[in-house]
Symmetry: C2
Subunit: 430 residues, 2 copies
C-alpha cells in the first residue's frame, strides 16, 4: 500500500526555512516513514526569488504568490516571522483547513486566540514547537507531556542573544554596547537587536508558556517586560562579588491568592545565585525549569535558536502533522478553561538590588535608609562603593517587598535632594 501523499507549502526560506527545506529534501523519506505518509514539498513562497540562499531550492518550487501556493496544501509551514504578512497567510491557511506549523512567537503571543479559533472552526491544526526555545521541547512539554500535572512555575532563559551578551559582559568585563557589537559580529544578534535586547522576544515566549502552563489566555501585552540594555559592567561585577550572575529570565508562575490563583508573567534581567541551575546556562543556550505539583522540578536544556535546531522542532511538528493528516487525529486544541487572570506586577513580592549615587557627605546613608524605612522596605545588605570623585554608590539589597512599594521608594529616592541618581535597579531571583 502506498502511503498517502501529504502536500506541503513552505512560507519563507530564510535561516530556518532553508534548513527545513534542506532536511526535508535529504531526510524526507525517513520522516515520511515515521509519519506513514509521503511528504511532498509542493512549493516555497519567498519575497524575493533572486535572493541568495544557503540551500539550493528547485526553481520550479519557488513562487511569490502565497495565496495560490497554499491552495490545496495539507500543511503550511510559516517561517516568515513578524506579524504581517505572516498573520494574513496563516489565517488563510487555517480557514481553508490546512494544518499550520509555525515558529512565529510574536504572532502567537499577539493573535494566538484568534488563530486557535480559526483552527477550531475548520478543524485545522496548529503546531508551534519552534516558537519557544528551538528544539528544546517546551511546547510539547507544556501542551502534552506534562498536561496531567498542575504546573506551578516556569522559569527560563529563552533568548539566546541576550544570554550571549550577558555572558560576554561577565567573561570580558565589557559594557553592554561593546558586548552587543561582539554578538552582532558573531552572528548572535541582528542588526536591529530591539526585539531581543528589549526582552520582547522573551516576553512573547513567556506569554506562550504561561498560556499553556495555566490553561489561560496570556498575551504579550500582559507580560511585564524589561530588557537588558541598562545592565552595566558594574552591576555584573557587583553580582559576581555577591556570588551571583545576571540572566534575562522569563517567569510564568501560578500564584495562589485569597481570591484564587493568579498568573505572574514577567521578563526581566535578574540576579541569580551561581548555584542556581540556570546560572550555568551559557552562550546562546536556552534552559527552562518547569515545576509541577507532582513532577517536582524538571529542567530542559539545549540550543534555543539557529537554523538546524529550530528546523528540528519544525520537522518534528511536521511528522506529527503529516501522521494526523494521513491517518486521522488532531493536535491538542487551545486549552484555556482555567481563565486565570494575570496579576498586577505591583503586587508581586520580589527582592531588589539597587545602586544609588549620592554625594560623598556625612548623613546621606541615613537619609537613604530612612526613605526605605518610611516605605516599609526592609534592607538585607548595604554597601558603599566609590562611584566617582566625591560621589558614592550606595548598593542595597532588600528583603522581599511588593514591587509597587519598591517603585514608590525609587520615586521618593529620585525626589530626594541628597540622591544624585538611581544607577541601577535589578531584581533578585532564587
Amino acid at each position: 500500500m502506498k502511503a498517502p501523499v501529504v502536500r506541503i507549502t513552505a512560507l519563507g526560506a530564510g535561516t530556518v526555512g532553508s534548513e527545513v527545506i534542506r532536511l526535508l529534501t535529504e531526510r524526507g523519506e525517513e520522516l515520511g516513514a515515521r509519519a506513514g505518509a509521503t511528504l511532498e514539498l509542493k512549493n516555497v513562497v519567498v519575497r524575493n526569488p533572486q535572493a541568495p540562499r544557503s540551500v539550493e531550492i528547485d526553481p520550479k518550487l519557488i513562487t511569490t504568490d502565497a495565496a495560490a501556493a497554499m491552495a490545496g496544501a495539507d500543511i503550511v509551514i510559516e517561517l516568515i516571522g513578524g506579524i504581517e504578512p505572516a498573520f494574513t497567510y496563516v489565517k488563510q491557511a487555517l480557514q481553508q483547513g490546512s494544518t499550520v506549523i509555525t515558529g512565529n512567537k510574536a504572532l502567537l503571543a499577539t493573535h494566538g486566540p484568534e488563530l486557535y479559533e480559526l483552527a477550531e472552526a475548520s478543524e485545522a491544526d496548529l503546531y508551534y514547537e519552534a516558537a519557544v526555545a528551538g528544539a528544546v521541547p517546551i511546547v510539547y512539554g507544556l501542551r502534552e507531556s506534562l498536561t496531567g500535572d498542575r504546573i506551578m512555575k516556569v522559569l527560563g532563559i529563552v533568548n539566546g542573544t541576550t544570554n550571549f551578551i550577558l555572558d560576554q559582559m561577565a567573561s570580558t568585563g565589557a559594557e553592554y554596547s561593546q558586548a552587543l557589537a561582539q554578538a552582532q559580529e558573531a552572528g548572535f544578534a541582528e542588526a536591529d537587536p530591539t526585539a531581543d535586547v528589549e526582552g520582547l522576544d522573551a516576553a512573547a515566549k513567556c506569554a506562550i508558556m504561561a498560556s499553556l502552563a495555566f490553561h489561560s489566555r496570556v498575551s504579550i501585552e500582559q507580560v511585564e517586560v524589561e530588557g537588558i540594555t541598562k545592565v552595566s559592567a558594574t552591576d555584573i561585577a557587583n553580582a559576581r562579588a555577591r556570588g551571583q550572575v545576571i540572566k534575562l529570565l522569563a517567569i510564568a508562575e501560578r500564584v495562589c491568592t485569597g481570591e484564587g490563583d493568579r498568573i505572574r508573567a514577567q521578563v526581566y534581567p535578574a540576579m541569580l545565585p551561581t548555584s542556581h541551575p540556570l546560572a550555568s546556562v551559557n552562550g546562546a543556550y536556552n534552559a527552562v525549569i518547569l515545576e509541577g505539583e507532582a513532577a517536582g522540578r524538571l529542567m530542559f536544556y539545549g540550543q534555543g535558536a539557529g537554523g538546524a535546531p529550530t528546523a528540528s522542532a519544525v520537522l518534528s511538528d511536521l511528522v506529527a502533522a503529516a501522521s494526523h493528516r494521513a491517518h486521522g487525529g488532531h493536535a491538542p486544541r487551545e486549552s484555556c478553561y482555567a481563565q486565570l487572570p494575570v496579576m498586577d506586577p505591583n503586587s508581586i513580592p520580589t527582592r531588589y538590588y539597587l545602586r544609588i549615587r549620592v554625594p560623598d557627605t556625612a548623613g546621606v546613608l541615613a537619609t537613604v535608609a530612612g526613605i526605605f524605612s518610611a516605605h516599609g522596605i526592609s534592607l538585607e545588605t548595604v554597601h558603599q562603593d566609590h562611584g566617582a570623585p566625591s560621589q558614592v554608590d550606595i548598593v542595597v539589597t532588600t528583603h522581599e517587598a511588593l514591587q509597587g512599594e519598591v517603585q514608590a521608594t525609587i520615586a521618593a529616592l529620585r525626589e530626594s535632594e541628597q540622591v544624585l541618581g538611581i544607577e541601577s535597579v535589578l531584581r533578585i531571583e532564587g
Copy 2:
C-alpha cells in the same frame, strides 16, 4: 454538552498507583477539562484488599478480579510492575481494545513488540511515559517531540537507586555494601535491590529508549549490562584524583559503520569528567542527554522515580488517552521501520580504566605493559599505588580500543603468573 465519560480501571495500588488514585480523585475535574472528558475511576484491582495503603480508596472500587474489572474499561492503567500477572492483564486489555497506560519498563523491554502488535490489531493505544525517568518526558521526547530529527545518541542516568548509592560512596568514602544499606534505610533501594544494582532496570529503559530513538526493536536481552556491585571506594577515590566521577550510564548510540548504521546499547558504570553535564546529577535524580543531528545536544533533568513524579507521567498519558478516547485520534504506533541491528559489544571502541594487583617486585610493570602492547592496546596513563603489604596496584587508562581486544588483554593478564588479580575494570566516557 456533557463531556463524554471515560471509564478507567487501575491495576495496582502501590506507591505509584496510590498517588495516581489520590491525584485523580483530587484533580479529576481539572484533568477532565484538559481532556474534554469526564474521567471516571471505575475500579481498582489489588492483590490484597486488606493491605495498608497511603491513600484512602472507596472500598466499593476495590476488587481482586482483574478480568471482570477491566471489562468495559476505556483505559487500563497498569502499575503492578514485573512480568506476570501484568503481561496477562495488559494483553487482555489491549485485545479488548482498551487503551493501556503503563510504567512497566521490564514488560515493555521484554514484550514490547508483542504488545504493540496486539494494540495495532484492535486499534488500541499504548502509553508508557512513566516507564522511563518518571515525569522527565523522555518517551514523549523520543516518540513525539523529536521525531523530526535523526537521533545520534542517548546518554542518561536513568536509575535513581544506583545514582544515590554511587553518590553516597563518593561523598562519604563508604564501600558499596555500606552505601547500599544506607540507600535501603533512606527508602531509595528495595529490600531486594537486584534489578537496580545489577543494572537491569537501567537496561530495560535503555532498550525502550534505543527502540524509540532508532525506530528499531531493541529488547533488554540485547543490551550489554554491568551493574555497580563491583565499584569500590578505591576506584571512586581514583576517579576523583583524575577529576572524574563514576556514574551508571545507559547508552544508546547510532554508530555509522561501513555496513550501515548499527545500534550501540549498553549499561555500565563509567568514569565521567566532572565537567560533563551528567557528572553533577546527584542523589536520586535522573538526566538524559539526547543528541539530534539537527537539534544538537539537549538535556532533560528531573526526579526519575517516586510516587508523585511517576504519577505525573501516568496522568499526562491519561489526559492524552482520554482525549483520544473521547474525541478520536491515537497514540503514535510502534515505529520500527529502520530495523537497525544491535552491534556486538566487542566491536565498540571504548576507553578503559584498569586496576591490576601485582607483587611488589622489579620487572612486573614491564610484563604488564608488554601484555597490553601485545594486544595492540595503547596506554594513556600508568600509576602505581601500594595496594597491600608487598603488593602494588598498577592503575592504567587506555586509549580507545575495541572492547573485545580489552577483554582478551584482561584474560591474558589473569593468566600471567606476575598478576595477582584484576581489581577493577571500568570504562571511561566523555
